[in-house]
């Protein structure tokens, strides 16, 4: 078999094709050294590990994190043999790894974005009121997402939640989250976007310090809330979002009212209204009582006054009547006395008169005449007639012989 023979350029092409086939996308981790930017367009640096070194190259526009010598990074790229015969690693994406590098990259990017005003409080929008449609960006298999759903369902109802399933860690996560953000902004009617992810290591969460992701969140027309990691984990995504929840569970609490608390408030409001109503009734009742008492007191006072007046009038009238009665009585007594005197006078006169009559009658008594020696003749005085002659002690019968007139 004949050995293949290439021109230099052909050989370089063959090598590159072989490398592309063998390593279409490779991750290489190492420490950055000899970092430099040429002509404002090209980035060059070496990835070092002990005595080993790999030359890396990338266009500046693809560099999304600030780089410094000494930073530990993971680089996604392809190996390439240049036309000058130099082996190079063409980087497509770089992420810091290890706590120190992540922190350094984070601080540098934070300073840059802060200088642009991306974290300004004035940019923060309030959460929409009457929230009914929510977009969630998370990994649907993550515990944080399950916590979020559980708490939302426990606290509130009637929400329509659309979830964009994306990676939430690793080098591909920022691009996927960015696509999800674009989707919600361009093709949905959600009122709020929640980016959530449970706790993890600094490496796990470092995707949320991606500059492009931070800028996409800042550019979102729809307000964004984040709940990434735990309370202590701070990411650029958190800083640029409209609101930061400390955890996915906390985001659920921030965006939904608590129906238990609302039921309690509703019940309290009703009790409060009823109490106020009763209080008003009591006040009205007391006022009525007050008026009634006033009226009663007024009437009592008037009655008492009238009673006193009446008593005085009666007393006065009694005095007057008594006075009149006394006068009348006095007059009557006088009259009775006068009448009595008159009557007595008249009676005495009558008595005297009767006594005279009696005396006179007594004087006319025939017995008295008989005693004086006279006699009484009874019968018809005519000649020949018989008469009776009565004396004091005797009665004699006689015959009339003759009658003659006396002179």
């Amino acid at each position: 078999m004949e050995e293949p023979r290439f021109s230099v350029s052909e050989f370089i092409d063959v090598v590159n094709q072989t490398l592309d086939y063998a390593y279409p996308s490779t991750l290489v981790e190492g420490e950055v050294s000899e970092f430099k930017i040429n002509q404002g367009k090209w980035v060059f640096f070496n990835l070092k590990e002990d005595d080993n070194s790999l030359s890396c190259f990338m266009p500046l526009f693809q560099l999304k994190i600030p780089l410094e010598d000494g930073m530990k990074v993971v680089v996604r790229g392809r190996p390439k043999l240049t036309k000058w015969g130099k082996f190079s690693f063409t980087a497509q994406q770089i992420m810091p790894v290890g706590e120190g590098s992540i922190k350094k990259a984070y601080e540098m990017l934070k300073k840059k974005l802060a200088a642009e005003g991306l974290f300004d409080a004035a940019r923060k929008r309030p959460l929409p009121r009457d929230l009914t449609k929510i977009g969630v960006i998370s990994s649907t298999g993550a515990a944080g997402y399950a916590d979020f759903c559980k708490i939302v369902n426990a606290r509130w109802g009637g929400l329509k939640i659309q979830t964009a399933h994306t990676q939430v860690q690793g080098m591909d996560a920022p691009a996927q989250i960015i696509r999800a953000l674009k989707y919600f902004n361009e093709k949905s009617e959600v009122q709020l976007i929640a980016i959530i992810r449970g706790g993890g290591s600094a490496d796990d969460l470092s995707c949320f310090n991606d500059e492009a992701l931070a800028r996409e969140i800042a550019a979102s027309k729809i307000p964004v809330i984040t709940g990434i990691g735990h309370e202590v984990d701070e990411s650029l995504a958190d800083l640029v979002a409209d609101l930061r929840g400390s955890t996915p569970s906390n985001v659920a609490e921030l965006i939904t009212p608590d129906k238990t608390a609302i039921l309690a408030t509703v019940s309290q409001n009703i009790k409060s209204a009823r109490s106020q109503f009763c209080q008003a009734l009591i006040i009205s009742y007391d006022t009525l009582n007050h008026y009634r008492d006033n009226l009663k007191d007024g009437l009592k006072a008037k009655l008492s006054q009238a009673d006193t007046h009446l008593s005085e009038q009666i007393t006065r009238l009694n005095g007057t009547i008594l006075q009149h009665l006394n006068t009348l009585s006095s007059h009557a007594a006088d009259a009775v006395s006068g009448a009595r005197r008159t009557l007595l006078t008249k009676l005495n006169a009558e008595i005297e008169k009767n006594e005279s009559a009696i005396k006179m009658v007594e004087r006319l008594n025939p017995e008295l005449v008989l005693k004086q020696g006279y006699s009484i003749i009874s019968g018809k005085l005519a000649p020949g007639e018989n008469v009776e002659i009565t004396t004091l002690n005797q009665i004699a019968s006689a015959e009339i012989k003759a009658i003659k007139e006396r002179k």
Binding site: C149, G157, G158, T163, A164, Y183, I270, R274, S284
Partner: protein, 65 residues
């Protein structure tokens, strides 16, 4: 007439109960207002107990452009 949302009902209940503390309060209207508030509170309670969330995963692959 469109159905009121639960938040609208809560806002309406707030307004009704606040009326009892307002200068507009009058005993003449209090019974009617109280009855309306109790009815609304019951509706809110029933709504809160019956409302469920709809959670759906978007049918789109975000790993691709």
């Amino acid at each position: 007439m469109p159905k009121k949302t639960i938040n609208q009902k809560i806002a309406e209940l707030d307004e009704l109960t606040n009326w009892f503390y307002s200068e507009d309060f009058s005993l003449d209207q209090a019974t009617e207002k109280y009855k309306a508030a109790v009815k609304l509170a019951k509706e809110i309670e029933e709504d809160l107990k019956s409302l469920k969330n709809e959670i759906a995963v978007i049918d789109k692959d975000f790993t691709k452009e």
